[in-house]
């Protein structure tokens, strides 16, 4: 293999990996296209052609290798990785790292995930539920119980997501669990209003990333990926809604 060919291969690999990591972790399409074009440009490819979709990326540069495809199979929300890819791309543009280091760091980034520790996530879920219940409903006495129910709801969601890996099912089950817990808590006299507890506790499950990205993608003219994300958000919302509705039916 000639050195030019190797170099082109590396450019494609780096750009495609960067793009895949960004889409997998919830970036909007326009940013992915922008970053990949910049990587190719900064690495010395004269032109690059891109086709970025929410389920896969196709990229070609005018060199000695043909176009390559990178499928995007899973989708999670880990915005830190997007920030890291963004930083790396900036460093590469400023010639602080070379292409080989860039590619290595991307491969490394892919395998490790630096989530906040689990206890902090539980605390955060509690701190989304309780304060928002107070903000939306002005029901201070139910603050603590909403924190607890929201935290347990997130725990159910997290554990299920780890083992069954279908987000919609985890959301459905977790919403149903929240509904049951809210009803039980009010029955036991721990809370006053089932409605308020449920409204607060469900907030950590809100699909904020797909909603925002869907709007941004549609505005940027990505008429396939934008609505696809909108559907993702809608299915999430429907899953949560059905979970709650199921509990309310059996009230």
């Amino acid at each position: 293999m000639s050195s030019q060919k190797k170099r082109d291969q590396l450019i494609l690999h780096t750009a495609l990996t960067a793009g895949r990591i960004m889409i997998e972790n919830g970036s909007e399409i326009e940013r992915v296209e922008d970053t990949m074009t910049r990587i190719a440009h900064n690495a010395g490819a004269k032109t690059s052609q891109l086709f970025v979709m929410i389920t896969g990326i196709l990229m070609a540069i005018n060199g000695e290798v043909g176009a390559q495809i990178e499928p995007v199979k899973r989708r999670t929300f880990d915005l830190e990785k997007i920030a890291v890819v963004n930083d790396l791309s900036r460093q590469f543009a400023d010639h602080k790292i070379d292409l080989r280091q860039f590619a290595d760091q991307l491969d490394h980034l892919d395998s490790k995930s630096r989530y906040f520790p689990f206890w902090l996530q539980l605390l955060a879920a509690a701190m989304v539920s309780g304060p928002l219940e107070v903000v939306f409903r002005h029901n201070l006495p139910d603050f603590w119980i909403t924190c607890v129910v929201g935290m347990l709801g997130w725990w159910v969601y997290y554990v299920l997501n780890k083992y069954i890996q279908i987000r919609f099912l985890s959301e459905f089950t977790s919403a149903a669990a929240i509904g049951v817990m809210a009803v039980v808590c009010v029955h036991l006299g721990l809370g006053n209003s089932v409605d308020d507890i449920i409204i607060g506790s469900v907030m950590p499950l809100v699909p904020g990333v797909p909603i925002t990205n869907s709007v941004r993608d549609i505005l940027a003219g990505n008429l396939v990926s934008g609505p696809a994300r909108g559907v993702e958000a809608l299915v999430s919302a429907a899953a949560i809604g059905f979970g709650i509705a199921m509990v309310l039916q059996f009230l």
């Binding site: 928002l132 903000v135 409204i199 990333v209 941004r216």
Partner: protein, 151 residues
Amino acid sequence: MSVLEFLIEVVGTYVATIAFGVLINIPRRALNVGGWIGVLGYVLYRFTVLWGGGYVIGNLLGAVAIGVASLQAAKIKRMPMILFNIPAIVPLVPGGQAYQMIKNFALGQNATAFVFLLQVVMISGAIAFGFLLSELVNRIQRRFWRHHKRL
């Protein structure tokens, strides 16, 4: 709304925005700014509603403020914009109305449910349109500062 209630709402919005940021794993150095942008959007929404502007206009103004402020934060911190605006819209999400809609549908009270459905659709539309307007501001700004283009 008394001053105390207002303070409780501000603190609640700030805490909830940051906590949502933790759940979607936003880098630590973006959390604080994201929290304040959330407060800004919510306060604008709240005052618009208090002064009789209606909840649709309120959400619209809130979303515009969040979009514009997020772009400034992204410029200053040199980080992607979505790190700031995703957690910040959480306090604007029509959670209460969506819940009432689901509840009334589940209980068979379709007429009431449709009222809430309409509210949910209007609020979501207002937030989306607010983002659209903020994008307009952002693109004009980007034309002026071409050399800061990279966001």
